[in-house]
């Protein structure tokens, strides 16, 4: 079991300073009008046009820029920045399977939770820590609680109980106003997670899925006669590991990932795969590239 990382190590001071120049960006977030400084992208008139982005399958056709289509013969989506009061719900998966890899997926989720919450609190938004493995949502608000947030994020630990979806959804329904859901999970309980995404989308809230994968999951360090124990279920399996079986496993993994991508696209949830070996700075750059984080203050 991975021990909780102290606050000072979770996010280095230099990294935290850089985060202060960034802000979360979300699409289709409904503002509660409580005066937060978070820039949201809302559909509707009177909002500040933020720009275009290329259309990708699964996007809502209502946001297509038909004029641009006529001029450029390209499918692009219009995006708007709106100042509003948004609750950022960070939902880390702390199940047993996340404690795998070197570094582990849980380490990545712990740091990413801390970084995204830090970012949101600096934008004067509310942040709710909602672990998928159960427990009451913990709410934090404003830059004054940044230290408490980091301390709490650093104490995220593996939970053997597995995902507790029913209670989690009940608590999510109690969040009023605009909300951005960021779920960090390895999708090993794929059906439950996708069901959760559906529930979120039904309340018309954006959801972003961050999918951590360890290098050891891409290239398992196995050979010979092996007794495999599945971490997520505890089931045991005896298998002679050969290059052929490894290739077959990789093919199955790619199919699995493709199925997750298709499901997220169908639901309308954003999906970002992140390797656990990536540096946190690189992860932030990836988030910027995928327009989940935007550079600049409001």
């Amino acid at each position: 079991m991975a021990e909780a990382t102290p606050t000072v190590d979770l996010l280095a001071p230099e990294f935290r300073e850089r985060l202060e120049h960034l802000r979360l960006v979300a699409q289709q977030v409904r503002s509660s009008g409580r005066g937060g400084t978070h820039l949201t992208r809302l559909r509707g008139s009177g909002l500040e046009f933020a720009g275009h982005r290329p259309y990708s399958p699964g996007d809502d056709l209502r946001y297509l820029d038909w004029a641009a289509l006529g001029r450029l013969d390209q499918l692009v989506l219009k995006q708007f920045d709106v100042q509003g009061d948004v609750t950022v719900v960070l939902a880390p998966d702390c199940s047993t399977s996340m404690d795998y890899g070197e570094p582990s997926k849980l380490d990545l989720v712990r740091q990413l939770t801390g970084a995204l919450g830090y970012l949101a609190l600096h934008s004067a938004d509310q942040v709710a820590l909602a672990p998928l493995t159960g427990g009451a949502f913990e709410r934090f608000s404003g830059p004054a609680h940044v230290h408490d947030w980091l301390d709490r994020a650093s104490r995220l630990r593996r939970n053997k109980q597995g995902l507790q979806m029913r209670g989690w959804i009940e608590q999510a329904r109690s969040i009023h106003g605009a909300a951005l859901f960021i779920v960090m999970t390895d999708f090993l309980q794929r059906a439950d997670v996708l069901n959760l995404f559906g529930e979120i989308r039904r309340r018309n809230a954006p959801v972003i899925a961050i999918y951590p994968i360890a290098p050891q999951e891409f290239n398992p360090p196995l050979s010979g006669r092996s007794a495999l124990t599945a971490i997520e279920s505890g089931e045991r399996l005896k298998l002679d590991i050969t290059p052929e079986t490894l290739d077959a496993y990789k093919r199955e993994l790619n199919l699995y990932r493709a199925a997750i991508q298709a499901s997220c696209r169908r639901i309308g949830a954003g999906l970002l795969e992140i390797g656990t070996h990536e540096r946190m700075e690189d992860v932030v750059l990836m988030l910027v590239a995928h327009r989940i984080i935007r550079v600049g203050r409001s």
Binding site: S97, D186, S226, A230, I231, E232, L237, D240, T245, Y249
Partner: protein, 611 residues
């Protein structure tokens, strides 16, 4: 089935260890993974079925293969069953020709000795009859007291040469008597031994097929088919012969060879035996009755290489006889022509001839040639490193030799006053008239002067005795004899209600072995083979004799070991030696089986049946 090298069977333990290591080394290694669902799908499509059976198959093949190799290394063979009791009839030649001298006795006495030897080799339960002629009539005597040598000797002593000739026309009657004397069999082996002093032809006689015929001819030698020279080697003997016929020998790879004229035959010492025999069978003769047999005993002493140089053909006659005597004491003798270099350990020079000494020469025996040269040892023409240091005695020696020295052809002669260092060899007078010899400190060279007044041949035994001394003095480490097997022969049964002990001693091995035998049905049975393996014979003898004592303890708890009633038991002849071919066949068969298993295992692996 027994094994010639049972120690190799210990390797079977390693095979078992290999099996255990194989079984446990191929266990599963634990590993934690995610995406168990995906791994399960992979297993469903790639997991080999019946993994346990495949592993067992692979293990079984490997163990069987290694087991076959180990068994092959142990050289298995199947014991021959003990021969059934035999009834033998010995036909003793008492014809007039047996009065002639053979070595130091009459031929008839030698034949009687051979009869005793034949009877002495009989096993328990064998019976023997003796046939001979007296006053022209066939006399049948038997059964002989096979277990009482003294009584047998007394009975043989009454047999004298028969001066009434038994011509060839009456000889079939002898055969008829022989066959009448032999029992009908009834499960007993039947053999006829013909002990004769002549080369009699028996091949035209109606011998029954189920009777073994053995011919023991003394002094008979077919001049057309004769052994001319024997060389004994470390692992084989090389026999030179002349004649045209076939060879039947124990130790020769082929059962029968055709030998040209003249030829050489290598006789390999049979496994487990110190003896090898070879016989020449002239074409057209009956193989059963061949009398050109030579039996060689493997030398346990280092072989002595002897070169003999003779000045004239007459000298060669002497030296030929000498060579035969030397041959009896395990030496390789070869003649060299005068002027040739001598590269042997011992050089014997006779007469006035030039010889160059090689570095190997450690001893020289120089013999006088003619009576006129009596007392004169002329070594001035012996060349080599020692030239100039050779000396000739200038003395009148021996009471028998009173003739003055008439010639002295060596300048640096030794004065009579310096003769103290010469070896006293006068005790050899009864063998010849060898007079004196001397060893030089430089090369251990022995110089011998001899007188030849009793005839040249009479000198030969004395020289042979000298050669034996030289052999013993120049002996290095004795050669390693082949494995020795000693059997107690027939099982010994002793009625006893208590456990008994047996002790087998082999003095030449400096070993003894004691073991305990529990009574079964009131009897203790002793029958075993002892001392298998390789042993070095003691330097003071090469006898195979063993002693076998059986005893019991009055109170096992308080009385220490000790013989109570020694039961003498002579050493039986070496047991029948399994055919070498059988050894090779069995070992080859096992190796081929191992190879076949290996091939089959690879084939199964190749087709995915095993892993």
């Amino acid at each position: 089935m027994t094994f010639e090298r049972p120690a190799w069977l210990v390797l079977l333990l390693l095979v078992a260890v290999y099996g255990l290591v194989y079984w446990f080394a191929r266990r599963y290694w634990s590993a934690r993974v995610t995406y168990g669902e995906l791994w399960q799908r992979v297993a469903n499509t790639h997991q080999a079925p019946r993994a346990l059976i495949r592993r067992l198959l692979t293990l079984a093949f490997s163990v069987f293969m290694l087991g076959c190799v180990v068994l092959a290394l142990a050289k298995p063979y199947i014991d021959e069953p003990p021969p059934p009791p035999a009834d033998i009839v010995i036909l003793l030649d008492t014809s007039v020709s047996t009065v002639r001298q053979y070595q130091d006795q009459s031929t008839l006495d030698a034949l009687k000795t051979n009869v005793s030897a034949i009877v002495g080799k009989l096993r328990k339960g064998d019976r023997a009859w003796l046939l001979y002629t007296r006053s022209g009539h066939v006399v049948s005597d038997g059964p002989l007291p096979v277990s009482n040598p003294d009584a047998l000797r007394e009975r043989l002593a009454t047999i004298e040469p028969d001066f009434y000739p038994l011509d060839a026309g009456r000889f079939p009657f002898v055969v008829t008597e022989l066959l009448n004397a032999v029992s009908d069999g009834a499960g007993r082996r039947r053999d006829i031994f013909i002990v004769t002093g002549i080369n009699t032809s028996f091949r035209d006689l109606p011998w029954p097929k189920d009777v073994g015929i053995h011919l023991d001819a003394i002094g008979a030698q077919d001049e057309d088919h004769a052994f001319t020279r024997v060389e004994r080697g470390e692992d084989r003997a090389r026999i030179h012969y002349r004649g045209l016929g076939r060879i039947r020998a124990r130790g020769v790879p082929q059962e029968s060879l055709t030998y040209p004229e003249p030829g050489v035959c290598d006789l390999v010492w049979p496994t487990g035996s110190n003896e090898a025999s070879l016989e020449l069978i002239p074409f057209g003769s009956d193989p059963v009755l061949s009398n050109n047999t030579i039996t060689l005993k493997r030398s346990l002493m280092p072989l002595l290489e002897v070169a003999v140089a003779a000045a004239d053909p007459q000298s060669k006659v002497l030296l030929n006889a000498l060579a035969q005597l030397i041959d009896g004491i395990e030496a390789n003798v070869r003649f060299i022509e005068p002027g040739q270099p001598a590269d042997t350990q011992l050089l014997i020079v006779h007469g006035d001839c030039d010889v160059t000494l090689g570095k190997e020469v450690s001893a020289v025996i120089a013999l006088g040639g003619l009576p006129a040269e009596l007392g004169v040892l002329d070594t001035s023409r012996v060349k080599g490193e020692v030239t100039g240091t050779l000396a000739a005695p200038t003395w009148l020696c021996g009471e028998e030799m009173r003739a003055p020295v008439t010639a002295l052809r060596v300048d640096n002669a030794i004065p009579l006053a310096d003769m103290n260092g010469w070896l006293p060899l006068l005790e050899t007078r009864e063998l010849g008239t060898l007079i004196a010899a001397k060893r030089t400190p430089q090369r251990n060279i022995l110089y011998v002067a001899s007188s030849l007044d009793d005839g040249e041949l009479a000198t030969a035994p004395a020289v042979a005795l000298l050669v034996r001394r030289i052999v013993e003095e120049t002996a290095s480490a004795p050669r390693q004899p082949p494995p020795l097997l000693i059997e107690t022969g027939m099982p010994i049964e002793i009625e006893s209600a208590k456990p008994m002990f047996a002790q087998l001693k082999a003095p030449f091995l400096n070993e003894s072995r004691t073991w305990r035998v529990e009574p079964v049905n009131g009897k203790c049975v002793f029958a075993e083979t002892y001392f298998p393996g390789r042993y070095r014979f003691a330097a003071d003898g090469d006898s195979n004799a063993v002693s076998f004592d059986v005893f019991w303890l009055a109170d096992e708890a308080t009385i220490p070991f000790g013989p109570v009633e020694p039961l003498p038991l002579r050493a039986w002849p070496l047991p029948p030696i399994p055919e070498s071919q059988w050894y090779d066949d069995c070992a080859t068969l096992l190796l081929v089986a191992a190879l076949a298993l290996l091939t089959l295992e690879w084939a199964l692996y190749w087709f995915g049946i095993t892993d």
